[in-house]
Assembly symmetry: C2
Homo-oligomer: 276 residues x 2
């Protein structure tokens, strides 16, 4: 690659780092790439680090030594995440979302890649300190959220199916009780999808009593894998706490009440924003 | 916002543009944001544009006039896309992918967000000249690819379900014949998911004879919507051309043969790379 001026180098390094979150990049990679001295690269990184931190883009970790380099850790500051959550809440409160049975139509919101990517960045921030090998979700509606989270954490996504599919090879199936209906369902995971002892971040779009997520937790036990965390976009707060199967999770919004008569919907920011 | 030096401004503008593809940003937005003169912003954009174009990141379109501004169009050069396709082919040729019935295990590849994002960028490049309102796929495995494409094109994603779901409201269902098995299936789309006259880019992970995609095309007719394009990650080339239901599509890889005895798999770059 031809030598770049500092100004051009800053643009290129910024995009290089942004497109490789949670990836250690040796300084020599940049030095070779731009035909620049390591000292110049270090100066560039100081500038980028300052902007990333001041603008709430994320951290730039510098690791010294022979195995050293720089790593971009996407992080969204809590105030910025709260702006996102408040906006999500006001969108969820639109009256025309109520469906027969008191269900809430959310597919238009889940269908916005930019919204999913922001939520994924918040989960990546919430779980950035955890040791995680893989992000898991069950089909269908949690998939974009799981991928957005996986992209920000630079982790693969494992997809639990509702039925056993011919394209998945041999699989482990379990039955689980969906808490809100007390009905029995099946979910299955391909044997080769998950290594033993994996540490798994579970992500889903909606949680009521937590039966579906508890199903994934039970499935993980079959793989001798561990739960590293649970993140849900929206939780239903209208669940008696003794009915709730799961207590340790992060939610971005809480659906507190739906009134099918007046069509009023009440949503507030989730437990991620609780004063700790 | 406090005034930034040019070097910091370049970093911030680069990340701002990269996170808002296909979005028109008035120069005044940047001028206000950084307390800088429009002329300085214009100079910054020249630097960014040069790097984006030389490094194959994408185009930076500048629109003059009162309604003017700048727009980042993600594009991957064909040579770079071919490197991606060749890598995909060699991964798909790994012998242990063959499942009973001659199916190919692809979930590990589809589970890599970074790989999906690259494929999405290639589709965004392939269809960048088309007038598209929405990206559509049918559950399950094409979903990450559809979102990656939607993110790069700044378009919403519409998800066709295999069954009618209570969380989708009223829906239109159709039956379709899956070409490879000649079996009849159902797919359905929520009435409120798609506006009439929408121009739709259909994306899926795999296409054999094209029955599933033809089903989506038929479903679009029910919504008085139009097909703006079809993109598939992998097509099966082992289909007689009179059996193929669909002829106008873009594929990134072609599965030419699977030998269940020797476990050999032959994959080559898709029709996107055909000499035109």
């Amino acid at each position: 690659m031809k030598k770049l001026k500092r100004s051009a180098r800053l643009v290129e390094m910024t995009q290089y780092l942004l497109s490789r979150p949670h990836t250690l990049i040796p300084l020599t990679t940049f030095a070779d790439r731009y035909g620049a001295a390591k000292s110049s690269i270090s100066e560039d990184l100081v500038i980028i680090k300052e902007v990333f931190e001041e603008e709430g883009i994320g951290d730039l970790l510098t690791l010294a030594g022979a195995a050293g380099g720089v790593k971009y850790i996407p992080k969204m500051p809590k105030e910025q995440a709260l702006v996102f959550a408040n906006d999500l809440c006001s969108q969820l409160q639109q009256k025309d979302r109520i469906l027969p049975g008191g269900y809430l139509y959310m597919s238009d919101l889940l269908g916005q890649p930019s919204l999913m990517n922001e939520a994924g960045k918040i989960f990546a921030t919430a779980f950035s300190g955890k040791d995680i090998d893989v992000v898991m979700t069950v089909e269908t509606k949690g998939i974009p959220l799981a991928y957005a989270t996986g992209a920000q954490l630079n982790l693969p996504v494992v997809l639990v199916r509702r039925d056993h599919q011919v394209t998945e090879g041999s699989a482990v199936s379990i039955n689980y009780v969906s808490g809100s209906h007390k009905s029995i369902h099946t979910m299955s995971l391909s044997r080769r999808a998950l290594k033993e002892k994996s540490r798994v971040l579970i992500v889903d779009d909606f949680m009521k009593a937590g039966g579906t997520i508890q199903g994934m937790v039970d499935l993980l036990a079959e793989f001798d894998a561990e739960v590293a965390g649970v993140g849900v976009l929206v939780e239903s707060g209208a669940v008696e706490s003794e009915e709730r199967l799961l207590h340790d999770y992060v939610s971005l919004a809480t659906l507190t009440a739906v009134d099918p008569k007046t069509k009023e919907i009440f949503v507030s920011p989730g437990n991620y924003f609780d004063p700790s």
